[in-house]
């Protein structure tokens, strides 16, 4: 016997929005977790560190776009950064990588373009905002004294997916199965937060009158101020947040939606403990203050210049 429940109207609307967000996110989540698993399994830390320049600014700049080579989402970036630290990569470079890679990578940029119907202006603005924060924090961190920047922290590899070694002595079938296993582990890690985000969004759409949201989102400063902490609380994966942001775009200004997508990948509750453990208190404080201030100003400016999509 097949159950075919019919929900009351309001609950049905909540359910349809909730399930649709998850269904739409899944393909991009899969691309992300497989790309991440590939890097973790086939690209050794030694190869990565040999490519890096030795001067501070070039190193910060290279670290900020390193996500194009290692397209990991915000769930996979910290374990990878800790492994890079263990191989001698400076803390400020690892920090820049942690802040930039979840957005500055092809998977997330394509999913953002897809979510916003090929609007490359939004993709470029998201890229620019993320890079501005990552590079600013990276440069400031490189100027901090080594002890103050927590140079001795983040050198111990984490347990779990991110710490697993590159394997070369297995057969192709074993390695393929191992790759799928890595991807599956990361899939479940990330799915939890996507479902939470979808629940929040569906509830907001079903409960809050859009007219009220429009009024809240219509004020240039308030709209940005509202969505930034929401992004931090939701902690949605970078591969899926554009789809949630797209739902907000009907009611909020473009600047606030971009601020949502930018700050959500830099300061999120989900990675807070890992970030403290990896980078230390001072660095996390620097990240929170600089990123919130910079993203807020950029969000307000964009709202003033480009009010809507």
């Amino acid at each position: 016997m097949v159950l075919a429940l019919v929900l009351p109207s309001r609950l049905n609307d909540f359910s349809v929005v909730f399930v649709s967000i998850i269904l739409q996110s899944l393909p991009f989540l899969l691309v992300g977790v497989f790309a991440s698993a590939f890097v973790q399994q086939y690209l050794s830390e030694g190869v990565l560190t040999r490519w890096l320049p030795r001067q501070r600014l070039p190193l910060v700049l290279v670290s900020s776009v390193f996500g194009f080579l290692a397209p990991v989402c915000d769930c996979g970036v910290i374990p990878l950064a800790r492994r890079l630290r263990a191989k001698g990569v400076p803390l400020y470079a690892a920090t820049t990588f942690i802040l930039a890679a979840p957005v500055v990578n092809p998977v997330v940029l394509v999913s953002t373009a897809f979510a916003f119907q090929g609007n490359w202006t939004i993709v470029a603005l998201r890229l620019g905002m993320t890079l501005s924060v990552a590079i600013t924090v990276g440069v400031l961190a490189s100027l901090l004294p080594p002890v103050a920047s927590g140079a001795k922290q983040g050198t111990t590899p984490l347990a779990g997916v991110g710490a697993e070694a590159v394997s070369s002595n297995q057969g192709p079938i074993s390695r393929a199965r191992e790759l799928v296993a890595h991807a599956t582990s990361e899939y479940f890690d990330v799915l939890f937060f996507i479902i939470l985000g979808a629940l929040f969004t569906a509830a907001a759409q079903a409960i809050v009158p859009r007219g009220d949201l429009v009024a809240l989102g219509g004020t240039r400063i308030v709209s940005v101020l509202v969505l930034m902490p929401v992004a931090t609380l939701l902690s949605i994966c970078s591969e899926a947040d554009a789809f949630v942001a797209r739902a907000f775009a009907a009611n909020f200004s473009l600047g606030s939606v971009l601020a949502f997508m930018t700050i959500g990948q830099i300061v999120d509750l989900r990675n807070a403990l890992l970030l403290f453990q990896t980078l230390g208190r001072r660095m996390v404080f620097l990240i929170v203050v600089v990123s919130y201030a910079l993203v807020f100003v950029e969000g307000v400016l964009i709202t003033g210049i480009l009010p809507s999509l």
Binding site: V6, L7, R10, D13, S15, A159, F188
Partner: protein, 239 residues
């Protein structure tokens, strides 16, 4: 835990298969995404199969189970994952209804004619050709085609409002780009010859003539209906 993970992955694949086979996917997503959704289901089924194989390896002593300290986190994740699976597998979804407006009034959402008519395109239809459904009407308005006085056939949900007269109602449809989360309401004012006697939320098909109604300084796109008939919710409910 691996058995549970395999079961959840296979359940997601089964959910996608069910939605595609029954056509219920159209209640959640735009049809253009069906191939991508199908491919996702195949990949998830493959991941589930690999997890099952790894479970066999574990029994044979080839692969370790997750560490015990991860168990609580994983249990929480699996509990949450069951929610969308249960909703997708057990519930028969319907198109977004009036409550998806979140309490907003329908009248401000009603379609209006542009302030000044745009020049008609060279491919404009003849004025006496019938407009088939809301999507064609919206497209005609966007192109600046002549619509006033043309016969029209339209389907949608009835929305009653205190702001409307007894013989009036709004015909509501949702336009989606990718999925129901980005749905935007499209409302048309329908003026029946008498009280049509259909409740809010009921799908109807309307036949009539496109006209203009002045309300609060706006020229509302309206249908002077000569026929209003209740129907089942169509499969292609979204625009």
């Amino acid at each position: 835990m691996r058995l549970l993970r395999a079961a959840l992955l296979l359940a997601f694949a089964a959910l996608i298969a069910k939605l595609l086979v029954t056509g219920e996917v159209g209640k959640y997503m735009a049809p253009t995404l069906n191939p991508l959704t199908a491919a996702t289901g195949v990949v998830l089924a493959g991941m589930g199969a690999v997890e099952l194989l790894r479970r066999t390896d574990h029994r044979d002593g080839h692969a370790p189970e997750p560490a015990p300290d991860q168990t609580m986190d994983e249990a929480l994740t699996y509990l949450l994952v069951i929610v969308p699976l249960a909703l997708g597998l057990l519930v028969t979804p319907r198109t977004l209804g009036a409550s998806a407006l979140g309490g907003d009034h329908i009248v401000p959402l009603l379609l209006t004619f542009p302030p000044s008519p745009a020049p008609a395109s060279s491919a404009s239809p003849t004025p006496d050709s019938r407009i088939e459904d809301v999507a064609q009407l919206v497209a005609s308005l966007r192109r600046g085609d002549p619509t006033r006085g043309r016969r029209v056939y339209a389907r949608g949900m009835v929305m009653r409002s205190d702001s409307l007269a007894a013989q009036e109602f709004a015909l509501l449809r949702y336009s989606i780009t990718h999925c129901a989360a980005d749905a935007r309401p499209v409302g048309l004012l329908v003026i029946a010859s008498g009280d049509p006697g259909v409740p809010s939320g009921q799908w109807v098909e309307v036949e009539g003539v496109v006209s203009s109604q002045e309300r609060e300084g706006s020229a509302l796109v309206s249908i002077q209906a000569h026929r209003v008939v209740p129907i089942e919710e169509p499969a292609d409910a979204y625009l």
